[in-house]
Every structure is written in C-alpha cells, then in structure tokens.
C-alpha cells in the first residue's frame, strides 16, 4: 500500500536536486537508491535503510520514523494549503540531526525537524521553491 491516507509522520520538508542537472547540482548523482531525478516526483527519507539512518540520525532530534525503503511511494500534504503530491523514495536524507529543533510554520502552526527532502518537481507541486522548506504531513 502506498500513497494512501494512513498517517505516517509530520515535520519539515526541504528540497534537493538529484540526477542530471545544471550548476552546483551537477555533482548530486542519482541518490542512494539510484534513478533519482530532479524532474520526477522523488523524495529522500531519513530511514530508507540502516546505513541511511546512521547518517541522518533523526532519533537525535526525537524523530523515530519507521523504515520505508527505496521505491516506496509517500503521500505528502502541505499543512495549510492541503496540496498533495505522491513522490517515490529514491534517496537517503535529509540529515535531520544537523537541524534539530528547527521550525517551519504556516497560519501560526509550526512543524519541527527536517524529516523529508523532495525533488524540485515534487516540492513545486505543493509550494514555491523559493520558500526553501514547508510544513507537511506524510501518509503511506
């Protein structure tokens, strides 16, 4: 089951580039799962594998999200606009431990900690790239 309405997690999402790209993104590569592309609905999840978890360490911020591996499709909803996108996990990230306690808010309600990274295509489906990060709810 994937991209359903069963609650999984909530927090901040940022965006990142992967795959064929221009500028500094040219060094990004295809992600931990391979095949990650900025022009596709793809995502990075902090618990895509045990090795991934060792890098992102969301538990250091109190986030113990379950394992969801390569190819799993998440349902991501913007907390305030309710815009939805369903990206597939193609990478490990974000590095949650580096930004413990960070907040992103809309309409006076805040979400804490970076728990998802979206490709430009996926992020732009629910918000503006110039915002950098958004508060989201995630379902699976």
């Amino acid at each position: 089951m994937a991209c359903s309405t069963t609650y999984l997690w909530r927090g901040e999402t940022t965006w990142f580039c992967c795959g064929p790209a221009w500028g500094p993104c040219g060094s990004a590569g295809g992600g931990a799962c391979g095949g990650c592309r900025s022009d596709s609905n793809h995502a990075a999840w902090p618990n895509a594998s045990a090795a991934c978890w060792d890098v992102t360490r969301p538990d250091l911020c109190g986030e113990n999200m379950p394992r969801r591996g390569c190819g799993f499709v998440l349902r991501v909803r913007h907390q305030c606009t309710n815009a939805v996108v369903c990206p597939a996990i193609r990478d490990c990230g974000p590095r949650t431990q580096s930004f413990c306690g960070e907040l992103t808010c809309c309409n006076g309600v805040c979400r804490s900690n970076r728990i998802l990274d979206l490709t430009p295509k996926a992020f732009s489906a629910i918000g503006s790239l110039s915002a950098g990060k958004l508060p989201v709810w995630i379902y699976n």
Partner: protein, 200 residues
C-alpha cells in the same frame, strides 16, 4: 490583491490568446509564492496534472524561453502575464539570460509548449558546510566541492535553528552545517546567497 479567477485557467487562456504582457502580472503578484495561494486542485497520484520543466535557457524569443533539459528534453516556455518569475527575488522575463538554469511549473498547452505559473531561475537549495567566512563571501563545501557563496547586502539573511530571518551573519561558524537557498551565477559558478539556514 488577486482577482478571484482560477490561475491555471487564466494561464491557459492567456497563452492561447497570445496575451503575453511581459513584465506585468494580471494576477497581482510576481512572487512565486502567490502562485500557490490560490486553490490548488488535489493531485490524483495516478494523474500528474502539473507540467514541469528544468534545464538551461538556450534562446529567448519575445516571451518564449527555449530550454534544454539536463536529460536531453527540449521545452518551450510561453511566459504570460500570469507567470511569476524568481531570480534572487521576484522579477520579470527581462532578468532572464541565455545560459541561465531554471525550474518551471505550469500547464501543458495543446501545441506542446508549457504556460508556466512559476519559473525559478538559477535557484539552488544546497546542504553545505562552512569552510571560511569573509565580509562579502562565504566559502562553502558542497558534496566535497568548493563553492563560493556571495553575501548580498540588503538581501542575504540567516536563520539560526528556525529563528526569524536576520541580516546578522555573525552567528555563523566554520564547520557549521548550513542549507543555502540562493541563485547560481553561471558566469563564475558561484552562488548568490538569499537565505541561509544554520544548523549544528
């Protein structure tokens, strides 16, 4: 204030009619964030309704941008008076140059072009580590590559662990993890820093 019209329908009709009033926005705002303030149709996971393009600008013909995608795709973006354009800040098509990189989101047109509601030019959002701090530039490490971040007086701001944006960069430290939202400069491969989120 935006008039109560559907932005996507407006984009499509503007592109079809050729009503390309470059440099003005009939929807009332050039800020790309405004493109998402209107009601957005829920995206059926099986149907990808939004058109998306990425790549570098190869030619500018009036209000049409020809874009070479990084994977070899070719796009023509028809800029309309409903298109929001970002390049360091909200701007107009006049600020776009051949060689710029971009991401665009919009509506597929019957002739194969895209009518974008938002275009982000040279935008990057990079996870980096600070390697040196100067008055007008910050040396960054990105994927083990050196990257120069230009500090723009009056534009560059920092946020320390989710705090309010501030022009005060004195809290930055060498070795610190940062997320850099900015605009790539194709001419020298540096990045103009717009917002910098400082981590641990």
């Amino acid at each position: 204030m935006n008039p109560p019209i559907d932005r996507r329908r407006f984009l499509a009709s503007a592109a079809v009619s050729g009503a390309t009033i470059v440099g003005a926005s009939a929807l009332g705002a050039l800020d790309p964030a405004a493109a998402f303030a209107d009601p957005t149709p829920s995206l059926d996971p099986a149907i990808d309704t939004a058109a998306f393009a990425e790549g570098r600008v190869t030619q500018i013909k009036g209000s049409a941008l020809e874009v070479a995608g990084s994977s070899g795709d070719q796009y023509i973006l028809q800029i309309t008076n409903g298109t929001s354009i970002w390049k360091v800040h909200p701007t107009t098509i006049d600020a776009i140059e051949v060689g710029d990189g971009l991401y665009a989101r919009g509506v597929d047109m019957p002739d194969g072009t895209i009518a974008p509601d938002a275009v982000w030019v040279n935008i990057v959002n990079l996870h980096c580590t600070i390697s040196a701090i100067g008055r007008d530039r910050i040396q960054l490490d990105h994927n083990n590559n050196a990257l120069v971040g230009n500090v723009l007086t009056g534009t560059t701001t920092a946020s320390y662990l989710g705090g309010a944006q501030t022009p005060d960069l004195s809290g930055l430290k060498i070795g610190q993890a940062v997320q850099v939202l900015g605009a790539w400069r194709p001419a020298d491969d540096s990045v103009d820093i717009v917002t910098l989120w400082a981590g641990h």
